[in-house]
Subunit: 159 residues, 2 copies
């Protein structure tokens, strides 16, 4: 088991693209919509994964990840996961000891771009790049499991 400690932000400019190399295509879906834990199937490039996460406490959660055959990951995504599946391109942007992961969403979540950074401990001080916007680490609307049920393109306009 790994402890995943992660902070998540919106981006406020497109300047991150200057630092991003080639992205990797991700497709991911969920086998459960119950509270308390999530079971995710992911295709990242040419590799499949099955990932179990506990519910988030603060910015931390338990994570168990297992590689699975690519063909079986696609079968699970298309036949057993809740639809729609989330599609995004993930870009990795190294910054000193950290790696920012910028997710550009497609499909029903097109228009949404999120930047995440994984930390060693919850109190770690990090330097925010100029293109980083509002922190949304604890806003459940930006959880991928939520986005798969309530795609970004269908969110009500903010008042």
């Amino acid at each position: 088991m790994a402890l995943e400690i992660e902070r998540k932000f919106l981006v406020k400019t497109q300047a991150w693209r200057d630092y991003a190399g080639a992205g990797v295509s991700y497709a991911q879906g969920y086998l459960t919509r119950e509270p308390g834990r999530s079971v995710r199937v992911r295709v990242a490039g040419e590799q499949g994964f099955l990932t179990i996460k506990s519910k988030t406490e603060g910015i931390s959660r338990q994570e168990y990840e297992y590689p699975i055959p690519l063909a079986e990951a696609w079968e699970l995504l298309t036949s057993l996961c809740y639809q729609p599946v989330i599609e995004k391109t993930r870009y990795r942007i190294p910054q000193g000891p950290l790696v920012w992961e910028v997710d550009e969403f497609w499909g029903l979540n097109q228009g949404l771009i999120l930047a995440e950074v994984e930390l060693d401990d919850a109190s770690q001080v990090i330097e925010l790049p100029a293109w980083i916007g509002l922190e949304v680490s604890q806003d459940p609307r930006y959880f991928n499991a939520y986005l798969s049920q309530h795609p970004y393109s269908q969110w009500p306009l903010e008042p």
Copy 2:
């Protein structure tokens, strides 16, 4: 993906014990209680497994099974699976080309004994040992996922 085709029976005598070797201890729990698919964590002897099954159609369903480390399987069982976890001893009884698996349940399901046999196709003709009782293949009360929520010892008495 494997297609699991299975028939399940009650036992009507204890004669199966004459043919059963040493049993293997199983503990298993579920990460989801939603209809349509199940995500099971199992410890079988000294090996952990993560298994995803589709809903049953007749006596068949899709099954995806992945070995996982024993310690992680126990963590998932105790911290993320719905409680109580199912405990049983599984005995294998070869009969010609078939293998009967007899599950003797413990804990809150103590008193229940089920015999299963896996088939190559749904129409396969099988010879039933004399100790085999009522077929319950399509009775959802005998699904392990159901037993984890409604343990056998708490079933209402039949009228």
